[in-house]
């Protein structure tokens, strides 16, 4: 089995503030890893630096065995950012945005191929947005825009998905659609690194959880299992997580569970 992502002693400092303080993280092929933690714990920075999008100030990263600068197989990775960037407001349709997910597979100066079109349609189908393909993305709800971002990554047919809070602020219908899409990815043996505030319906799909607290890894292993009232039938595991107080040594999820 090969290793998709490997971070050794990863440090990130932004404007003199330490965001990541020496993280070791290895994600093997086919693993589904959730990155959990309170707001500001460095989850987002961690996954963005895994991709080389956020430069490290210390430590190193390997993507499929290569440092980001020398990595050439970007088609193997699909990145789902936290939210859809609207840029300067030039309209773009759902199909245009999703089709741009093919970019790592397309040769410069070549026309769009039948395979490209097919992958885009399949991705739109998978997230249930085929009927909105011609609509401008700005006319979609937050949850639908999140589905567009996931469809863009799906269209590239990567081996590994890196998703930055795909469930944040998403309506119930989109939540269900996301869980279904995730289940499909797991079934196909895809590697997934997923930042989440709470796992919700995706909990059973996670093979490993990494918990961050103030830029440090405080847990790496089995997903935190539901305890107490969480384990009762009928509990839908939807509760507001509060950010961990700065002085606490407990990770956000543990605190929230204590309170519940």
């Amino acid at each position: 089995m090969s290793t998709a992502f490997e971070m050794t002693g990863g440090q990130v400092t932004i404007d003199g503030r330490k965001i990541l303080r020496g993280i070791d993280l290895r994600v093997d092929d086919g693993e589904v890893v959730a990155v959990l933690g309170a707001n500001g714990s460095g989850k987002s920075t961690l996954v963005r630096s895994l991709l080389g999008v956020q430069p490290l100030s210390g430590g190193s990263i390997l993507l499929y065995g290569h440092p980001p600068a020398r990595f050439r197989e970007w088609r193997r990775i699909g990145y789902v950012p936290q939210r859809l960037s609207v840029g300067g407001g030039v309209p773009a349709t759902v199909r245009e945005v999703v089709a741009s997910g093919r970019i790592a597979r397309q040769r410069r100066g070549r026309w769009t191929s039948a395979a490209d079109r097919q992958a885009v349609s399949a991705a739109l189908d998978e997230v249930g947005l085929s009927d909105r393909a011609g609509d401008p993305v700005s006319s979609l709800s937050g949850g639908q825009q999140q589905r567009v971002l996931i469809a863009r990554a799906l269209a590239g047919e990567p081996d590994a998905f890196v998703m930055d809070e795909p469930t944040a602020g998403v309506d119930a219908a989109s939540q269900r659609m996301l869980a279904k899409t995730m289940a499909g990815l797991v079934e196909r043996g895809k590697t997934v690194v997923l930042v989440a505030h709470e796992l919700g319906a995706m909990e059973p799909l996670i093979s490993r959880a990494v918990v961050l607290n103030q830029g440090c890894k405080v847990h790496d292993g089995a997903p935190p299992s539901p305890v107490g009232t969480h384990a009762l039938p009928g509990h839908d595991h939807v509760h507001p997580h509060e950010p961990a107080p700065a002085e606490s040594s407990l990770p956000g999820w543990a605190l929230a569970q204590e309170k519940a």
Partner: protein
């Protein structure tokens, strides 16, 4: 007498079409990249290039291309660093370009700031057949580059981090769009002048996006609006005997005002349909 009876007007019309096509095409990417004022910045810097042309006795268009491209690269590098306050750094470059141009032209024997007027405000009717060849080849180069790199530039202008995570050469593409913009500024300089150049890169795009839903149509329609503005403005300035650059820009702005109203009406009737 019609507009086609005069050589200089025929040249001017061809130049107008070129400018009307290229400026909004580049502008679509630049607006999406939130750099709507990039054209203005490059325009100011290009003035130093024009003045250098006078000083050294070379063609001002040639020196303007070189200096504008260097300025654009500098702007992009400042922007990419992102840490220093980018807009202030850009502003410094604008002022430097303008002041540099005025100073250099003052130092050039036999020239005065009046020599810069046609570059500042445009003098499309003074386009010669040689100018036309230069403008045409630059315009073709710009459109060819946009066609070849369009897909990548779309991703870059949409979300730079996604572009990076897709393995695109982000730094190169950023410089490319900056250099394409600077070439476009010089192409459009003769038509509308350096002070109004940015209008042709921004206004047709802003007009078009009132009416469209996709990136591709926005770009195509903005090119249509661009040509309508340049050709329409040039023609009316000829018959009304008013300055061409200002007429072109005012016409483009009038088009924007109309599109704003039409766009509102269309959107309202669309939402009306979907809720009915």
């Amino acid at each position: 007498m019609t507009i086609f009876d005069l050589d200089f007007m025929r040249y001017a019309l061809i130049a107008a079409v070129m400018v009307g096509l290229t400026a909004p095409a580049v502008g679509t990417f630049i607006v999406q990249r939130r750099l709507a004022l990039l054209g203005d910045g490059i325009g100011h810097v290009a003035l130093t290039g024009v003045a250098l042309g006078f000083l050294t006795g070379t063609a001002p268009v040639a020196t303007a291309v070189v200096v504008a491209a260097l300025g654009a690269v500098a702007i992009e590098m400042v922007r990419a660093r992102g840490k220093t306050s980018g807009d202030v750094a850009l502003a410094l470059l604008f002022y430097g370009g303008l002041a540099g141009g005025v100073m250099i032209i003052y130092l050039t024997p036999g020239e005065s700031t009046a020599s810069l007027n046609s570059y500042l405000f445009g003098a499309i009717t003074s386009v010669t057949s040689t100018d036309l060849w230069v403008i045409a080849s630059l315009a073709v180069a710009v459109l060819a580059l946009l066609t070849i790199f369009g897909r990548e530039l779309f991703v870059l202008c949409q979300d730079e981090e996604v572009a990076k995570a897709s393995g695109l050469p982000v730094r190169f593409l950023g410089l490319l769009i900056a250099v394409i913009a600077s070439v476009t500024v010089v192409v459009a300089m003769r038509a509308v002048g350096l002070l109004l150049v940015s209008a042709l890169m921004v206004v047709p795009v802003a007009t078009s996006q009132q009416l469209t839903r996709s990136f591709r149509t926005t770009m195509a329609l903005s090119m249509v609006f661009g040509v309508l503005a340049t050709v329409g403005g040039l023609t009316s300035s000829f018959y009304l005997d008013v300055p061409s650059g200002a007429t072109i820009v005012l016409l483009a702005l009038a088009g924007f005002a109309v599109a704003l109203g039409v766009g509102r009406f269309v959107r309202r009737s669309r939402t009306g349909e979907s809720t009915a």
